[in-house]
């Protein structure tokens, strides 16, 4: 023990200047990461706004705006790599892939991959264009959501291009705009008679061999279209051919492939493409080869019952294969499931189902009379219905919009998903909600006007839900207007059910703001007083226009809602507009939400926003860890004269302050400094709290024998490495503090960035230890947790360890919270020995929050 202590001192002193300059450099890197992230978020916000449909822009604009964004995120990544000693090399790969995808969108150049066939498990997040929308989503259900999807592979758009090239069809696609039915029929004929390039046949044959191994010799496939945007923003429902029950032979699958591809040029499909702004002949089609399920029953789920409220889902079911339901061949069962806290079967209408579609003995399918014993019988039992509904809900939650899902149950009762796509609602959510709220007032008093910043424009109505704690998110009713003090990326989990978000405080570039824009949720932040002015349960109409054109009416203003529906509906039908807007898919969505989850990893980053979020969180951690290491060797910390000074305070706390720049006033010639010389905003705030009158507990506390023993045995493990040289130390700059305080047997670590830019700001607070028995120590943790939760901290507590973090607050708010933490540090110093009951925890927490620091019962 002694030996290691001296060795450590020697090590630290021996590396004085290196350690010092290293920390200074890292702090600069940290600031550069924040700066790069900010510029990235600003560029992202700007692009989102300009590409959102309110501006006329050209491709040059998109190029230059993206170039600025890419430069900013690259800067950020460069400094992040230095700050973290290249601990996350995967991030550079992710950025390169994102850049590749965006460049492809900007230039219209084909995907680089030349793979002709890809099995579903190999389909990754960046392959949407190659495998088409339908394959992509189905693979995502299996790969990401771990739902059961039949064995399947995709024939890519690269294969499609090869096939067309091989048959000299490329030229024929030019000038298809004016093609009449005769020309189209001739083209389809050529496709059906087309030959396959050798590579294509070889890849397909090898994939079919694999399929035969997995499905058995008699395995059959469904050969289905998967066009570029199919099942994405547009369903293409029923536009293309699907060939069912195809044997796993090269001849049969090639025949089916040609049938499916030829259907791209059917008259109906061509007019649909024109409507979506595709130049005729431009759309490429991938194809899916999906194992046929010998379905006992199959059907469709709408996770939001169309035309009704979003709180119910509708499941239709028929005996046999899917066409029974999707093609409306039979009078199917209809089950309605209420999406309540626990899913509930709300309604069951059993159809006659006079006919059913089955696999015919050979190839293809046939429609036959339903056997008498099955007619009029429910296809699914309640347990099956609820299980299916649960999985469907998971899909909706993942995509964050209601889904239209195809499913099938086989004879062993296993349920497979065959398709999932966005459900286009007949009515806007706003109107649906409006209809469900019965009382419509006659007049519309204005509750808020021109307060706050509009993040996402729109007009909508709903009931106000005032959120006090993050936990309440689970209880928000569908169609609510969420009103909260602060914005938070946690709100993403409620977004599928929200009509609007209004906050008192917030910025239009926050993570939450991006999410709201992505999902078109009308959102207003920074209103100052929404939580005070609006009442929980009140029915309101929100009209969010440009900038700060905000009006909140009491009641439902039908005329406004109708107006909102009429405008801006057709822009998404312009192909080039969508293409430019799709670039934002690789930029704006935020997948990494909770840093405490395992998913918070470099390989889970899919967008620029994810990278920003990841780097921000890990930069804070890296700085914290580094500051912790350096703190232990005081000799290595000052790199300019006067950087290290002893702080004298009118409370019994000795503290060393290391000035990282702008943290202390004066040159520090005296090496001793007082509170008045502290210019670091966060350090000053926390000290002000510690110095607040009545807070500092000086009374001698009677430790019982058991407490003393506990304290003595814990001293060593609490102190951890290097504790012998550990003092109360604060590393401080004008906007940053990292301080470590030790009082007897417990430790506080506080890390805080407190600048004028709210999204840069964070507080990390860690408290551990104590001399009293563990029950008392845990009670102290419970008390601190109550206080911090009140300020919106995300907390983790275990035994006598408490970790809390909060971010995104304004400078003023951070200062306020730091003062409270300062008070809490002083107040709880010897509190554990006195906390004899759980009731006392609640009493003292309430008192503390009310500014009453008395300990007496």
């Amino acid at each position: 023990m002694q030996k290691s202590f001296f060795r450590r001192i020697k090590e630290v002193l021996g590396h004085d200047s290196a350690a010092a300059s290293d920390l200074a450099a890292r702090f600069l890197d940290f600031q550069a990461v924040l700066d790069g992230n900010n510029r990235t978020l600003e560029a992202m916000t700007e692009m989102g706004e300009k590409l959102g449909g309110d501006y006329l822009f050209d491709v040059n604009y998109t190029r230059s705006a993206y170039a600025a964004l890419f430069a900013a995120i690259s800067d950020s990544l460069r400094h992040f790599t230095l700050l973290t000693d290249n601990q996350y090399p995967r991030l550079a790969e992710v950025l390169a892939r994102i850049d590749g995808l965006v460049q492809r969108m900007l230039t219209g150049i084909e995907p680089i991959s030349s793979r002709l066939v890809v099995f579903y498990p190999e389909i990754t997040w960046d392959m949407a264009e190659e495998v088409g929308g339908k394959n992509y989503h189905l693979a995502e259900l299996a790969n990401t959501l771990q739902l059961r999807v039949p064995e399947a592979f995709a024939i890519t758009t690269a294969a499609f291009s090869d096939f067309f090239c091989h048959n000299g069809l490329e030229e024929r696609l030019e000038g298809l705009g004016s093609a009449d039915d005769g020309v189209l029929a001739e083209l389809r004929g050529t496709i059906l008679a087309g030959a396959f390039p050798e590579d294509f046949t070889a890849s397909l044959a090898s994939a079919l061999e694999t399929m035969r191994l997995r499905l058995g010799r008699d395995g059959k496939l469904a050969v289905r279209s998967s066009a570029e945007e199919e099942d994405g923003d547009f369903s293409f429902a029923g536009q293309f051919e699907t060939v069912l029950n195809v044997p796993c032979t090269i001849e049969a699958v090639q025949g089916a492939y040609k049938q499916v591809v030829a259907s791209l040029f059917q008259a109906n499909a061509m007019s649909y493409q024109r409507q979506l702004g595709y130049d005729p002949g431009k759309l490429k089609m991938a194809v899916g080869c999906v194992a046929m399920i010998d379905a006992r029953a199959s059907g469709v789920i709408y996770t939001a019952a169309a035309g009704k409220d979003r709180g119910r889902m509708a499941i239709s079911a028929a005996w046999g294969l899917g066409p029974g339901v999707v093609d409306g061949l039979t009078d199917a069962d209809l089950y309605t499931v209420a999406k309540e806290e626990e899913l509930r079967l709300a309604e069951r209408r059993i159809g006659a189902k006079a006919q059913m579609v089955i696999n015919s003995g050979g190839d293809g399918v046939e429609t036959k009379e339903t056997p008498v014993e099955l007619m009029g019988r429910a296809c699914l039992g309640e347990t099956e219905i609820l299980a299916l509904a649960g999985q469907a809900l998971a899909i909706e939650k993942y995509y964050k919009i209601p889904q239209d899902i195809e499913w099938a149950v086989d004879n062993t009762g296993r349920c497979y998903f065959l398709q999932a796509r966005s459900l286009r609602m007949d009515e806007s959510a706003a109107e649906a909600t409006a209809k469900n709220i019965e009382a419509v007032p006659d007049s519309y008093p204005v509750l808020l006007r021109n307060q706050g910043v509009v993040v996402q424009r729109g007009t909508t109505a709903g009931k106000v839900f005032i959120l006090h704690h993050i936990d309440e998110l689970e209880h928000i009713p569908k169609g609510s207007v969420l009103v909260a003090r602060h914005d938070s990326p946690h709100f993403v989990q409620a977004i599928p059910i929200l009509n609007a978000i209004i906050t008192d405080i917030g910025v239009p570039t926050s993570h939450m703001a991006s999410i709201c824009r992505e999902f078109n949720i009308p959102t207003v932040v920074n209103t100052g007083s929404a939580t005070e002015v609006l009442q929980h349960g009140q029915v309101i109409t929100l009209q969010a226009g440009e900038g700060s054109e905000v009006v909140v009416y009491e009641g439902i203003v039908q005329s406004l809602l109708r107006e909102a529906r009429r405008t801006g509906a057709k822009l998404r039908e312009l192909y080039e507009f969508r293409r430019q807007k799709y670039i934002m898919r690789y930029i704006a969505p935020l997948n990494l939400v909770n840093p405490l989850e395992q998913e918070f990893a470099p390989e889970k980053c899919k967008t620029v926003h994810d990278l920003v979020r990841f780097m921000h969180e890990k930069s804070v951690q890296a700085l914290l860890a580094n500051a912790g290491r350096k703190r232990r060797g005081l000799g290595g910390l000052f790199w300019h004269p006067g950087a290290l000074r002893r702080l004298t305070l009118p409370i019994p706390v000795q503290m060393q302050v290391i000035d990282l720049g702008g943290g202390l006033r004066g040159d520090g010639a005296g090496k001793v400094t007082g509170f008045a010389e502290v210019t670091s905003v966060p350090l000053r705030a926390v000290l002000a709290g510690m110095l607040a009158p009545g807070v500092w507990q000086n009374e001698a506390t009677a430790l019982r024998g058991v407490d003393l023993l506990s304290g003595m045995t814990r001293a060593a493990d609490l102190a951890g490495e290097g504790a012998a040289v550990l003092e109360n130390v604060a590393l401080a700059s004008s906007v940053y503090v990292n301080m470590s305080l030790r009082f007897g047997y417990h430790f506080n670590i506080l890390d805080c960035y407190c600048s004028e830019t709210p999204r840069n700001n964070h507080i990390y607070f860690r408290f551990v230890g104590g001399a009293a028995a563990i029950t008392n120590r845990s009670r102290r943790i419970a008390l601190m947790a109550q206080v911090l939760a009140e300020h919106g901290f995300a907390l983790k507590a275990k035994g006598d360890l408490l970790v809390g973090r909060i971010s995104g607050q304004s400078r003023q708010e951070i200062e306020g919270i730091l003062e409270q933490i300062g008070r809490l540090i002083g107040y709880t110093r010897q509190l554990d020995a006195r906390l004899d009951s759980d009731e006392m925890v609640n009493t003292l927490a309430r008192r503390f929050l009310a500014g009453d620091y008395r300990l007496a019962p």
Partner: protein
């Protein structure tokens, strides 16, 4: 009353398409052109109330379009949009009696307001 007609000239299709869609929503009649030459040809056949033109295009540029329109059809208002906004071009356009001048990306709402002013609707 007959619909007011607007001509949009921009060598990037997306600009014309978006403008057409936006103005048609407000009840205007809109035709789009990818170059100045084709647009001027069309002007010989049909009268437009307002011409919205990009500045920098292959072939005839926006200033040339402006001058020609003003010379041949003095009553027609011309609004210019450009990604390369600079003062010199703006001054030159003003001299040639441009009705309005916007940098790209231009807010559709502002462009609509400008068209309304050009038509004396506001």
């Amino acid at each position: 009353m007959a619909k007011h007609s607007i001509m949009v000239i921009d060598d990037e299709k997306i600009v014309g398409d978006m403008a057409k869609l936006s103005f048609e929503q407000d009840g205007y009649e809109v035709e789009t052109f990818l170059n100045g030459e084709a647009a001027l040809e069309r002007l010989q056949e049909k009268r437009f109330d307002v011409v919205v033109t990009d500045m920098k295009m292959k072939g005839m540029d926006g200033l040339e379009v402006l001058r020609t329109v003003k010379k041949l059809y003095p009553g027609v208002k011309v609004i210019m949009i450009t990604a390369f906004a600079n003062l010199d071009v703006a001054i030159e356009a003003l001299r040639d009696d441009v009705h309005d001048f916007f940098p790209k990306p231009v807010k559709i709402k502002e462009l609509k307001a400008s068209v309304k002013r050009a038509l004396g609707e506001e």
